[in-house]
Amino acid sequence: MSAAPILSVRDLRVGFQTEAGLLQAVDQVSFDLSPGEVLAIVGESGSGKSVTAQTMIGLTRSKNSQIEGSVKLDGEELLDADDATMRRLRGEKIGMVFQDPMTSFNPVYRLGNQIIEAIRAHNGDVGKDEARQRVVELFESVGIPNAERRIDNYPHEFSGGMRQRAMIAMALAMEPEVLIADEPTTALDVTIQAQILRLLDDLNRQRGLATILITHDLGVVAEVADRVLVMYAGRVVEEGTLDEIFYDPQHPYTWGLMGSLTRLDRPRPRRLPQIAGSPPSLLDLPQGCPFRPRCPHEFSKCPEYPGLEARLAEAAGHRDRCWLTPDEKRAKRQVEGQIGLEAPR
């Protein structure tokens, strides 16, 4: 992309020791994120997208977790930073927005006070009145009307959409450089979702905020992302720019995701293309490609685990984990249906 990356993740592996053995939740995940860029991480439950994000900000540290690899923020290694450093970085450098705005605030404290507390915990020099003023401005900047009065409300007095705005305001309170949004609109109605996506888009452009958007909704991805990582069973199976992923998808799992969407802009098919079976257990992964048991195009090479490689001469940044050649993929994709039929432009 354009500027030097602010966040750089290399060969991240996160495993959890369980009674049934080591569960490798994230394996060999690498990516860079530049200021002003929106990177979408797409995948189903159990694909490792949330664990990846949580590990970056130190939320998966525990006795039974094994974390390897490197996460560098502005050149500083986060994986071996101590807890005090992480506490400082969370909020000041990296803000996080969670899926459920209902459970992310403390219900017995006024919203404004929770954010004022966060600001003052990071910077003791800020007086109460000054912090309060800042929260009012933050509320205004994320589009909460009557900010002056609303900051004295309790979380239950806010609607879902307003609560999500308040959460974004809290994540932005310390002016972080990176924002991680984990399914920020999944719990919201579509009309509210559209507003929140606009807001994230504006913030991203005005402040040059680097954003990681975690979602399972490809429609949301198409609206805001610059680049996309598709994850399956803890690994990145395909990565590329937004247009590369949507108009020339290379991995059969990505085709499956695109095919199973119900689209309002197309005539409805008689039957929805579906992906057979269900995601594998991370404790019992098939040998080779983890998508193999569900893939209609499995062949002799698949029991061998494919590397994440650029297989297209014209797009060096578009990488995937599938043994099929690009020509075979394009041919098979046509057979599967209306998936990425147009060439990327």
Binding site: V190, T191, F246, R263, L264, I275
Partner: protein, 277 residues
């Protein structure tokens, strides 16, 4: 021909009460405020709307799980609004429900065989080895294996649990199945499987669905006709393609415009249009 289900001017208001000794009714929540629709045999009517639009309340009122404030609900031409529990019992065989959350809608202490078989037992349809055989057939019909009979819900994934919920709903061979957000808690790749299963079952068994969801894409795919709910009222009703392609009501238009299009170029174009307007 009389429709299978005919709902007329259905109203459900919830009172808001204040006061300590004397419960004074100070206001009402007009959850469902006079809606009318019908469902024909073998047909799917989609009911869309955002949270709080009253779609779940409407479903529950139809099933008499809550008492409607006023209005008429006719099933096969017979008035059922106001019927008591006992009078409703034989009708329960004809109308079943599939719930949203497959993690909350199955009793974790019961085996699958019992969960699916209980409706048959309670209604006195089958018992003993006959019951077991019927349940195993149902499990296979919804894409599970008959060996799953003795397992517990926690051994199944979300999609499989939803299949169990479907098997339970179909056990009594109902004519109408009310599906309240049946796929919204599932992963995308599993949603398509469940939608296709519901489609197949409808073709095979001649079921009618009242399909409630907030995802217009899914509703359009499965429905013959769609009714759009907003603030307790139906603002628009028509065939699925009519409502989605030539919406007449302003709210329907707004709702459709808010659905993200999974196509970057179209999405950019649309945003450009919105910005220049």
């Amino acid at each position: 021909m009389t429709p299978l289900l005919e709902v007329k001017d259905l109203v459900k208001h919830f009172p808001i009460k204040r006061g300590i000794l004397i419960d004074r009714e100070v206001d009402q929540v007009r959850a469902v405020d006079g809606i009318s629709f019908d469902v024909q045999r073998g047909e799917t009517l989609g009911l869309v709307g955002e949270s709080g639009s009253g779609k779940s309340t409407a479903c529950r009122a139809v099933l008499q799980l809550i008492k409607p404030t006023s209005g008429s609900i006719k099933f096969e031409g017979r008035e059922i609004a106001g019927l008591g529990r006992r009078q409703m019992r034989p009708l329960r065989r004809e109308m079943q429900m599939i719930f949203q959350d497959p993690y909350a809608s199955l009793n974790p202490r019961k085996r699958i065989g019992q969960i699916v078989g209980d409706p048959l037992k309670l209604q006195g349809v089958a018992r003993g080895s006959d019951l077991r055989r019927q349940v195993q057939e149902l499990l296979e019909r919804v894409g599970l294996a008959s060996e799953h009979y003795n397992r517990f819900p926690h051994e199944f994934s979300g999609g499989q649990r939803q299949r169990i919920g479907i098997a339970r709903a179909l056990a009594l061979k109902p004519k109408l199945v009310i599906c309240d957000e049946p796929v919204s808690a599932l992963d995308v790749s599993i949603q398509a499987q469940i939608v296709n299963l519901l489609d197949d079952l409808q073709d095979e068994l001649g079921l009618a669905y009242l399909f409630v969801a907030h995802d217009i894409g899914v509703v359009r795919h499965i429905s013959d006709r769609i009714a759009v709910m907003h603030d307790g009222r139906i603002v628009e009703q028509g065939t699925a393609d009519q409502v989605c392609e030539q919406p007449k009501d302003d709210y329907t238009k707004k709702l459709l415009a808010a659905v993200p299009i999974p196509d970057p170029r179209e999405s950019r174009e649309r945003r450009g249009q919105v910005a220049s307007r």
